[in-house]
């Protein structure tokens, strides 16, 4: 039995010019294998890159295109690639694909890998050439068994065609690519924890600097990019920088398309490939169909558990980093969540902080001890047994676990939704405070 990733993305009208990541998807949601992928122009960008472009030329096209990381932090990909030291031709260099996707409400890489495994592989071959990396690993979360099977099958097909291995298509380029499956723990998605995990160690993040570009996996120059980021590379090389910088909506500072979604009690939950700069309103109404009958929108979150809550009035924001930044939080992974009127914010935050507390790697004290403490306070408030100081304590934790106070971005991601929930829905937290003993009616 298999629950396929087929969804609304398979049903909307798509074209190669407007939907570079998803136009080849099949209506039935089955994986696009090599023959079909090649009949739809697949691997032509790889051939162009390997046969006609020098590594530096590929890298500068990706930089000029303004591609930004799709893994949540939005760091410019070309800049990240530029941090790699020049190749000496001897020292091994690695390209790692972050396919650990475990953040609550982040569900885009799974569908790309299950349905379009060759696009990621092609993107990795081109990116590895740009980085002069001869070995790549796709770090895939263990639960994604269908993605693992499809990626491995696609790799076999690509290897048989001579696209993976030694002297690819007679160009002298070598690239070996493996699927590495994990064994749980959300923190493996943090890029330096991912490197430790790949090395066969506990997945505690590493201190930076040195950055992975200089000292990465096995101490060698390493680049870590998200599945969706790497899947964008073939179309940039194939269609060119001008095309890529022209497809977003006016007003967007980010270029290209993004896998965006809406879930929760909306009529038509789904993921779609959409141009940066569309408004959250369009995503919510035109794609997700608005709320189901009987439910009203109370709050929403733009991009995964680690982003802040917003109000319905903020739906006018444009979906790109700066657009969501203007209303006070981060675009994150671009997969939005609708919170309906039946959901109590204290209970929802309790659920979320249970996740963050459980998934803390335990390395630094504020995160290891602060998150379980927040869970304890939220549970008390949820039962209506909170103390009147609990809300202030939660706000203090929001400060203690904020950006720059901990070893990695797990703790800041954990408190961003909490701080925003208290900001917009303080009443619901106050309602969880027990009446002081003296004031309790006899």
């Amino acid at each position: 039995m298999m629950l396929s990733s087929v969804g609304p993305v398979n049903r909307i009208a798509r074209s190669a010019e407007t939907h570079p990541l998803t136009w080849r998807l099949r209506d039935d949601g089955q994986a696009v294998w090599l023959d079909e992928y090649e009949s739809k122009d697949g691997y032509s960008a790889m051939k162009k890159a390997l046969k006609t472009l020098a590594p530096g030329e590929i890298a500068s096209q990706v930089k000029d295109a303004g591609l930004k990381g799709r893994g949540g932090a939005g760091f410019p990909t070309g800049v990240k690639w530029g941090l790699m030291p020049p190749s000496d031709g001897v020292t091994p260099r690695y390209l790692l694909c972050n396919a650990d996707e475990m953040e609550p409400n982040t569900w885009k890489d799974r569908l790309l890998m299950e349905q379009m495994p060759h696009l990621l592989i092609e993107g990795m071959i081109i990116s590895a050439r740009a980085l002069e990396a001869q070995t790549g690993y796709i770090f895939l979360r263990g639960e994604y068994v269908d993605a693992a099977r499809n990626l491995n099958h696609a790799l076999d097909e690509a290897r048989a065609k001579g696209y993976i291995g030694q002297n690819i298509l007679g160009t002298g380029v070598n690239f070996e690519l493996y699927v590495h499956t994990g064994a749980g723990r959300y923190i493996c998605g943090e890029e330096t924890a991912l490197i430790n995990s790949l090395e066969g160690r506990r997945a505690n993040p590493r201190s930076k600097p040195p950055f992975p570009a200089a000292v990465g996996v096995w101490g060698k120059p390493t680049c870590v990019n998200n599945v969706e980021t790497l899947s964008n590379v073939p179309a940039i090389i194939g269609n060119g920088v001008t095309w890529f910088t022209g497809i977003a909506r006016p007003g967007s500072e980010d270029h290209g398309t993004k896998m965006m979604g809406f879930s929760g009690k909306v009529k038509n939950p789904g993921v779609w490939e959409l141009p940066f700069g569309i408004t959250a309103q369009e995503l919510f109404e035109d794609y997700a169909g608005g709320m189901r009958d009987g439910y009203t929108l109370k709050a929403w979150q733009p991009g995964g558990a680690g982003t802040g809550f917003l109000l319905p009035e903020h739906l006018s924001a444009q979906m790109y980093a700066g657009g969501i930044g203007k209303v006070g939080t981060r675009m994150g992974t671009g997969l939005a969540l609708a919170v309906d009127h039946t959901v109590n914010m204290v209970s929802l935050l309790r659920n979320m902080e249970e996740f963050f507390a459980r998934e803390s790697c335990g390395w630094c004290t504020p995160c290891r001890d602060g998150l379980p403490w927040s869970v304890k306070l939220l549970r008390a408030l949820e039962r209506g047994e909170g103390k009147d100081t609990d809300i202030e304590t939660l706000l203090q934790l929001v400060g203690f676990l904020g950006p720059g106070k901990t070893f990695c971005a797990h703790a800041p991601g954990a408190v961003e939704p909490l701080g925003s929930a208290i900001k917009y829905f303080r009443d619901e937290f106050v309602a969880g405070v027990a009446m002081p003993a003296a004031a309790t009616p006899a």
């Binding site: 982040t106 994990g182 996740f355």
Partner: protein, 168 residues
């Protein structure tokens, strides 16, 4: 099958099968450093035994050429490596926020009512172990869970008993 000329690594309580060893050697070949095959090796043992018995730790350490304490450190860090026996079927229920909004706590209650176990527990007949898992990437498909390698969506309290009965 064990034959005389096949080198086996034995500890007082545990012997890796030739197949397990071959699979581990194959995993090792993917990496410049054998330590990187730690998780693969643990999963190989888990695939045959259902969990990772104590004796497997030094046996894996020997194959990888690293201290047993390091293997144990990895085995205890990752949530999907089981260091105690689990049921024949492992139920992994997504408890992340979208499934929470879509009613996962009712589903959990229905599983507990049907099987008489909570998170981290195994049924007396050894058939099921229940574990929580982070977002399974099916947030559009209602509350979701995996039973072994099968993913189920659109879960409600009503369909849980029938669904679990398909596994025996």
């Amino acid at each position: 099958m064990q034959t005389d000329n096949q080198a086996l690594i034995a500890t007082s309580r545990f012997t890796l099968s030739p197949q397990e060893r071959t699979d581990m050697e194959n995993a090792k070949s993917h990496y410049p450093d054998p330590r990187a095959a730690s998780i693969d090796a643990l999963k190989i043992v888990q695939a045959t035994h259902g969990y990772v018995p104590d004796g497997a730790i030094p046996a894996i350490a020997e194959v990888l050429g690293i201290p047993a304490a390091d293997v144990e450190g990895v085995a205890t860090f990752y949530s999907q490596i089981f260091r105690v026996p689990v049921g024949r079927h492992v139920v992994r229920l997504c408890d992340s926020m979208t499934c929470y909004i879509n009613g996962h706590e009712d589903v959990l209650a229905a599983i507990t009512a049907k099987l008489g176990i909570g998170y981290g527990e195994t049924t007396a007949d050894g058939l099921f172990t229940l574990l929580p898992v982070c977002c399974l990437g099916n947030c559009d498909k209602g509350s979701t869970m995996m039973v072994d390698d099968d993913t189920h969506g659109g879960l409600t309290a009503e369909i849980i008993p029938g669904l679990l009965e398909q596994y025996s």
